[in-house]
């Protein structure tokens, strides 16, 4: 394993290439590639990589990028691509189709604000738009976690008990375009970690029609089967992490990371790089003797309700940092956590909309939110922080 200094996007491209190359002994690798800021280096790296058995197709749109992945995956190859923001929005029809075909495609979502107004900075609204698309969703906080989670995502998605596509999110620019030192896996390790990709329902010359018409009761069963597959994810993810530790000697976070929550009175929840800033704030307050904790939200689909309830522990105040917004409702993580906390009227849950459109979520802002939450007697509507007057 080499210690390498590079950007999040370069690492994401490198790891997708390693994963694709690892399937050279099986049916190879396929990728439909289309550029969008801030994802572009990922497809550039993939186009430049010399696969033993693989092809990266330079298509004319995100919609076709996912379509190529669908066709390639149906023909049995390991399949992956990357996009951002409006590119993901353009891809949506085939994103849903990929899951409904039960294809284990891995998609890197480099978080960027949906426009207009045009804005290239990070905001999780683009990938959270895909909340109901039957994809697994992982949110990563650092370059190392991005590298590790991409490999874990392939392993979980391709597991026969799951067979659903997986999205791995990284913050645009904050991760995609900054450099960090990472333990970059070797091909031989990835070969050991990822079993050959086996799409059991791939095209095999038989007279079978994939994706044809079904009536309501069969469609309902199809959706129920997807829910069953989602419910098997925690078990499959735990195994994938055990195996990861054996091969790579480190263990990435699982569905979430609960930190200082055992005796915490106040907990803040955040995903992606916001979690790193939050961690500093928690550590400083802990050093001052305050009983605060945090939950780094990583797996968003399936949403880990049980782990969440366990992680909250005795805390009676939970605040959510949402760098996304569902207009007419509030933050999307907050909505999930509110559903998770049904029946827990003892817990005050407050949503904070922060850093929308890529604004900095600073340690000072997090301090302000900790103070606000500690002083509240009851929850209010989602609070907009830092909206200019």
């Amino acid at each position: 394993m080499a210690r390498v200094l590079d950007t999040g996007n370069h690492f994401a491209g490198d790891v997708l290439a390693l994963a694709g190359e690892a399937n050279r002994g099986a049916r190879g690798a396929i990728c439909g590639a289309y550029p969008i800021t801030p994802q572009t280096e990922i497809v550039e790296i993939l186009r430049d990589f010399q696969f033993t058995k693989g092809r990266v197709v330079p298509v004319e749109s995100e919609h076709s990028a996912m379509a190529v992945c669908i066709g390639g995956s149906l023909a049995g190859a390991r399949s992956f691509t990357a996009s951002s923001s409006n590119g993901l929005a353009y891809m949506v029809e085939n994103i849903f189709a990929a899951a409904y075909y039960r294809l284990p495609i891995v998609l890197i979502g480099v978080n960027r604000t949906l426009g207009p107004p045009w804005n290239i900075w990070t905001d999780q609204g683009d990938t959270l738009m895909l909340r109901d698309a039957a994809w697994l969703q992982f949110y990563t906080e650092s370059h190392q976690e991005l590298v590790d989670t991409i490999l874990v995502a392939f392993r979980v998605a391709e597991d026969r008990r799951v067979l659903l596509p997986a999205l791995v999110a990284e913050d645009g620019f904050v991760v995609s375009h900054t450099q960090m030192v990472v333990d970059l896996p070797e091909q031989e390790q990835v070969d050991r970690y990822l079993p050959p990709c086996n799409v059991p329902h791939r095209l095999r010359g038989k007279g079978v029609t994939v994706g044809g018409m079904t009536f309501p009761h069969e469609t309902e069963k199809h959706r129920w089967e997807i829910q069953q597959a989602m419910e098997r994810v925690p078990e499959v993810l735990a195994e994938a992490l055990d195996e990861f530790e054996k091969v790579f000697g480190r263990r990435p976070h699982g569905a979430l990371s609960a930190e200082h929550t055992e005796d915490a009175e106040v907990i803040l929840v955040a995903c992606n790089t916001m979690a790193r800033t939050l961690r500093r704030a928690v550590q400083r307050r802990r050093a001052e003797g305050q009983k605060v904790g945090m939950i780094k939200a990583k797996l968003f689909r399936p949403f880990p309700r049980k782990e969440f309830l366990r992680a909250i522990g005795p805390a009676k105040r939970v605040g959510v940092l949402d760098r996304n917004h569902s207009p007419g409702s509030g933050g999307i993580f907050w909505n999930e956590i509110a559903a998770t906390l049904q029946g827990r009227s003892d817990v005050l849950l407050q949503d904070y909309l922060v850093g929308l459109g890529g604004g900095d979520v600073t340690p000072e802002l997090i301090d302000e939110i900790f103070d606000d939450l500690a002083a509240r007697n009851q929850a209010a509507d989602p609070v907009w922080k830092e909206v200019p007057a």
């Binding site: 049916r27 004319e60 749109s61 990028a65 190529v68 669908i70 085939n94 079978v208 029609t209």
Partner: protein, 302 residues
């Protein structure tokens, strides 16, 4: 016929592209096209990528399918991109299976045109067949950009004002190895062109005028004769384009009047029907094709 010969025949039928028993309308040109495609490809078992169109309704409902070969029901705009993925993975695994896009005019002229153009520009090793019934058929007959001028559809109640898009010219402009038009009234020509397409490497485009009694408001038994008439009156030229530059015309108009095509389809009974404009369009198209064939003829052995 002996029992075993009968059973063998039945089994062969079941293994073909189109199995017996489907719900296509009587007089549907696409059904003829699928059967002739199968005859032209003999014992081959292609993979079909079919977007939203009557061609996927043909399959019927899960778990049965009228298609006896591997078939993917793709999203509407995606058949050429899904097929790119399928064909790429077959090729990288040394498999010779032919991948075919089987699409309607909506998926070709309209929503799928960017995907089609991109696959053609990349010269993907695909056979793309458009069965063009000049209408959104299974949604109940709305106009597409393949609908001819003067035709009444559910979204052009007075008749369509704009002329039909020239898809062959668009595909020729991509300089793809082979493009040709297909008629369900000219079987030998149809089979020969499918076989030429099969032999050719790279992107191949076949455009079939597909009679649709339901949408054309015509009689099912007239379907094949309507296409024969369309060829004879010059409305639907049969021709081939090699590398997007060399032309061969396969049949010329023989003086059959346009009215014998128009009068048997109630879709043409519209306020905006302008026979002179249609005739002028046909003449201009023939002047263009004749000039192209004269100036850039296909090679003798093409």
């Amino acid at each position: 016929m002996t029992t075993s010969a009968y059973l063998r025949e039945q089994r062969d039928l079941a293994d073909g592209i189109l199995r017996p028993g489907n719900t296509n309308c009587a007089g549907c040109g696409m059904s003829i096209g699928l059967q002739w495609l199968e005859q032209a490809l003999e014992n081959e078992r292609p993979t079909l990528c079919i977007p939203a169109c009557c061609g996927i309704v043909t399959a019927g409902s899960f778990p049965t399918s009228a298609y006896g070969v591997p078939t993917v029901a793709t999203t509407f705009a995606s058949s050429a991109a899904v097929a790119t993925g399928v064909a790429s993975v077959y090729a990288m695994n040394g498999e010779k299976d032919l991948t075919i896009c089987w699409t309607g005019d909506g998926g070709t002229y309209d929503i799928g045109v960017a995907t089609l153009s991109a696959a053609a520009e990349r010269n993907e090793d695909l056979l793309y067949v458009c069965y063009d019934n000049e209408i959104y058929g299974n949604t109940g007959g709305q106009r597409s950009s393949a609908t001819p001028r003067g035709v009444k559809t559910s979204t052009t109640p007075k008749g369509k004002a704009e002329p039909k898009k020239d898809m062959m010219a668009i595909m020729a402009a991509h300089r793809i190895p082979y493009a040709a038009t297909l008629s369900v009234a000219h079987r030998e020509d149809f089979l020969r062109k499918v076989r030429t397409a099969r032999r050719t490497k790279g992107f191949r485009f076949l455009l079939m005028l597909s009679p649709c009694p339901t949408g054309w408001k015509s009689e099912p038994e007239d379907s094949v004769d309507l296409i024969l008439t369309a060829v004879r009156c010059g409305l639907f030229p049969l021709y081939e384009v090699f590398e997007g530059r060399r032309y061969r015309i396969n049949a010329r108009p023989d003086g059959e009047p346009l009215e014998s095509y128009i009068s048997r389809q109630r879709r043409y009974r519209s306020e905006l029907l302008d026979l002179d404009a249609l005739r002028a369009g046909i003449e201009a198209q023939w002047a263009y094709l004749e000039a192209m064939e004269r100036t850039f003829p296909a090679g003798e052995h093409e």
